[in-house]
């Protein structure tokens, strides 16, 4: 930067601010302040000793403070949206976002906001985006929110019922929907998250013929592949694999007889072992099937099923499953939120249920129960049950926190949590009724 003295004077919308060039250097070259002090532009300040900027002075004060301290404090009289717009003008929106909330920690989460949407009916799924945004699937629509929780154009694929949705990156969303009989519609599509336009539609080929299909659960791998459980009309059940870049189908794992893949509710790509976890749990089949697929040699390398197991009095049915590669195990949960574990290293595994359970046995079941869901984030295990989310830590998975809207804020209470998702250092929880979702954030670290 070509300025001689360290002191800098701004006149912003009539108010004078003084700061130092070192403070402004925190904005980086790729911003309004970076450009204005570049030697190409310095000659202009010769006639007066202050720089005039025709912007809102109140917001400038907040942003200048952000540059000075790296922390964001928004006074009550400034709306967030106004501040975001001003930050965008200066090219400092990323600074604001990274100062808005802290690094994710399941045990320090605070409820930041609850958003109510207009969609009719129950929510299906919620997915956190990589930069703090999220998308919510309701019936045949997917609503997309950016990190400022501004809603963008909704996404739909032939107005078919959405089964799953996922972020490839902050710009791209994939949704999987039911097929429309006889029309070849439905399947899977890739959309722009900011404009909602369809960029790519994925097709499935069987014996060189394009077939229509119903796409179920989705998963993405770090080597740019998309996996989805697929149901075709003529027994073409299995797991399809597509390339994210070309959009072409590159593989298909057909469902072996006596097993279930095409109906899977959950797919999870395991980076360390190069395998895909496929779990078919409920309620489409009577039995649960969990397997690990290796696509390189088309083998099921690990599998478990409860078919043929005797039905006992305190029947425990697996409602969700998640693989934990670091522990070489799969964690499952039943409808009473009991956690169970299976060893990935032995194939003849049975579930080891933890005895922690039944904390909530006293509660009466809600009229419309939501089955528990599981999530794993940097060594912390999360499970949802009714209207709260439990956090488990440590090698023994001890219950450490419980996330629940406090009763005084219940004006936007939306019933049980039907799905939740962690990403972009935020946790999003979708309620089954009233079309409400909550955003949980970790506050920035304490001052000292």
């Amino acid at each position: 930067m070509g300025i001689q003295k360290d002191r800098v004077r701004f006149n912003v919308g009539g108010r004078i601010f003084e700061t130092s060039s070192t403070t402004l250097a925190n904005a980086g070259r790729n911003s309004f302040f970076g450009a204005i002090f570049d030697e190409n532009w310095t000659l202009q300040s010769d006639h007066s000793d202050e720089y005039f900027i025709d912007r809102n002075p109140d917001c400038f004060a907040v942003i200048l403070d952000l540059l000075r301290t790296g922390e964001l404090y928004i006074p009550a009289n400034i709306s967030e949206k106004l501040l975001y717009r001003e930050a965008l003008f200066y090219g400092l929106l990323d600074h604001v976002r990274s100062a808005k909330w802290g690094q994710f920690d399941g045990n320090r989460l605070r409820l930041s906001e609850s958003i109510t949407g207009q969609a009719p009916g129950d929510g299906t799924a919620i997915r956190a985006g990589p930069d703090g945004g999220c998308c919510v699937a309701h019936g045949s629509m997917v609503h997309v929110y950016d990190w400022m929780l501004e809603e963008h154009a909704p996404i739909t694929l032939d107005y078919q019922r959405v089964n799953d949705v996922g972020w490839i990156d902050s710009e791209n969303i994939v949704i999987s929907v039911c097929e429309r009989l006889g029309r070849g519609d439905g399947g899977m599509g890739l959309f722009s998250s900011s404009t909602g336009e369809l960029r790519d539609k994925f097709q499935v080929n069987h014996e060189n013929q394009v077939k229509s299909f119903t796409a179920g659960a989705l998963s993405f791998s770090s080597d740019y592949k998309i996996f989805s459980s697929c149901k075709g009309r003529s027994n073409e059940y299995g797991i399809g694999v597509w390339d994210q870049v070309t959009g072409k189908q590159i593989d298909f794992f057909y469902e072996p007889p006596g097993w279930s893949l095409g109906d899977a509710d959950k797919l999870q790509w395991l980076h360390g072992s190069n395998c895909l976890l496929v779990a078919t749990l409920f309620p489409r089949k009577d039995n649960c099937y969990i397997s690990l697929l290796d696509f390189r040699d088309k083998k099921m390398v690990w599998s478990w099923s409860d078919s043929g197991a005797p039905i006992t009095v305190d029947e425990k049915r697996v409602r969700d499953a998640i693989a934990m590669e670091e522990n070489n195990s799969i964690c499952v949960v039943n409808e009473f939120e009991d956690l169970g574990f299976m060893d990935l290293r032995s194939t003849a595994g049975s579930i080891r249920w933890s005895s922690r359970s039944r904390l909530m046995k006293g509660n009466n079941m809600p009229d419309e129960p939501c089955y528990p869901k599981l999530a794993l984030h940097e060594g912390q295990l999360f499970s949802s049950m009714n209207d709260c989310i439990s956090v488990f830590c440590g090698p023994e998975w001890v219950l450490t926190s419980r996330l629940r809207q406090s009763y005084r804020l219940r004006q936007s209470y939306g019933g049980s949590i039907c799905d939740f998702s962690i990403g972009g250092d935020r946790l999003f929880a979708l309620h089954s009724e009233e079309n409400v979702f909550d955003i949980w954030e970790t506050p920035p670290p304490p001052i000292i």
Binding site: A35, D38, N40, W41, Q44, L88, E171, S194
Partner: protein, 734 residues
Amino acid sequence: MSGQKKKNFQIEAFKHRVMVDPKYAEKTWKILEHAIQEIYNHNASGLSFEELYRNAYNMVLHKFGEKLYSGLVTTMTSHLGDISKSIEAAQGELFLEELNRKWLDHNKALQMIRDILMYMDRTFIPSTHKTPVHELGLNLWRDVVIHSSKTQIRLQDTLLELVHRERNGEVINRGLMRSIIKMLMDLGSFVYQEDFEQHFLEVSANFYGLESQQYIESCDCGDYLKKAERRLNEEMERVSHYLDARSLEKITNVVEKEMIENHMHRLVHMENSGLVNMLVNDKYDDLGRKYNLFRRVANGGLLIVRDVMTSYIRDTGKQLVTDPERLKDPVDFVQRLLDLKDKYDKIISLAFNNDKTFQNALNSSFEYFINLNARSPEFISLFVDDKLRKGLKGVSEEDVEVVLDKVMMLFRYLQEKDVFEKYYKQHLAKRLLAGKTVSDDAERSLIVKLKTECGYQFTSKLEGMFTDMKTSQDTMQGFHESLGAELGDSPSLTVQVLTTGSWPTQPSATCNLPAEILGVCEKFRSYYLGTHTGRRLSWQTNMGTADLKAIFGKGQKHELNVSTYQMCVLMLFNNADQLSYKEIEQATGIPASDLKRCLQSLACARVKSVLRKEPIGRDIAEDDAFSVNDKFSSKLYKVRISTVAAQRESEPENQETRQRVEEDRKPQIEAAIVRIMKSRRVLDHNNIVAEVIKQLQSRFLPNPVVIKKRIESLIEREFLERDKNDRKLYRYLA
């Protein structure tokens, strides 16, 4: 509004949209367009960044992003058109400089334009999937300036011309080259490749194709390689100075192909300066250069070098081992082999980077030609014998080890290790009995080496010989202690008791020992048999030595060191002045051939014979007569009478040794066959032969014909039988 007011009571319909000044966008764009012009004209000092940034921001905000973007494309394209013309107008040498200057200007302008349009870059461009401003500026520069019809070819030619001039030794402006090349790379690696690299490689291939043709006609191999190496280094340097690092491999490949690969055969076989010549003259630098350059050639560059070296070593080696001149002096023969090995070891380590494949080639060559001469085992043993007798006197322990290691290396090449063993045993026996060994440590060290090389079995007998020597010393001490007084002034006797079987003894008729000696001998015999029951002693008089005190005619006293046979002969002259051959033969009972040799050494030496022979002559005849030579004189008190000894084996002896080796091999081959058949039970002929050869090759290379004979002999003795159905199969009979 005031006009409307005049029409009373007419209420204007509520306007839903607030109309922005329709000329607003146009006006704002004019301001920005003007600013872009000023920036290109180096006149930005009057511009206000804040104002321009705000204007661009407002255009995007009010949905005029499309207009702003297309306006930018148009303005920049037209500016670049002007720039392109001014570059095209530059004359000769100034062309590149003008291009470079405009490029730097454009970069700076682009940065400033991007600063103004930053808001558009951040919001409008990503959401409409347009090309960002900076990339747009580069693309336009590429399409409008670099790919303009006049510039594209001219730029290429200018760059290639500069490279050509630099190759011819001129100094060019490398800084300018570097910035132009960097420009091409900034425009995208494919621009660099298509507009420069690809042509550069073609031109280089032509250049080096021609140059190599010229050089190969006019230079010898060494000079050519020096030139090729220099060119290669020049190209590497060029890449590091002003080309993309990824071009390194491509351009070096071109040079390698044109200068080395295309002329590989010619370079290796070049007369008077090719590979063989370099090997002969130990041209390490040239050889190293050749190795390093040929190694770069992917398919088989080194293979040619290795093959030529191998065949040359084989030829020289073959000449060496089959040259009858060389066979006369075994020590020299082996020394030459070692020198040859040293020479190539040095070449491989200095010039060929200790390449394993070259070392293997060298080893296989030596193995090939050493075994061409059937006497190699004998000669190597003789070489060791020579070294251990005298060659290693006054040499440090480390140097001894070096010599022994070299011998072992030659030993490893031998196929007939058992023949070597045979000779080694003989020579070792002679050394031990005559006490001629220089260093006991060296002897043992070699045995240890042989043991690690060939196993315990190979050396057990050799070790037995050492044990015998040690026990004999103890026995003699005991003998003198118990009978010392009794012996009085009879001649002192040293006996070495040798275990039969460990030593290469030849059955020889004992001679008649003089009475004085006989007495002592008998005493020793009774002493020895008294301490060790159940043993038998027989005298090997052909292997002993004696020290005699003699007084000659004029009273000269001398001590003569002679063999036992010579001692027997000389003792006869204590009682007689003159004796005929017949008388001597009768009195001593020494076998005729030995006696003749022994008399020869006593009477026919050129100077200082102890005996005088009548008539004088070199050969001993049946009726010669001998008397003491009174005129014998010597400066030394102690005189050693050397035996006329066969250093090297004579032809018949050699045959005999061979015979014995063959005899010894028979049981070994049979044992191997039986071992194999015992485990396999049934096997066909070819497989037996192959397995026997495999089992025995560490000791010798058995001849298939001999193996067949052994199999037949085993069938006769009912160890094996032929299969009744298939005659080729043999069956083991337990």
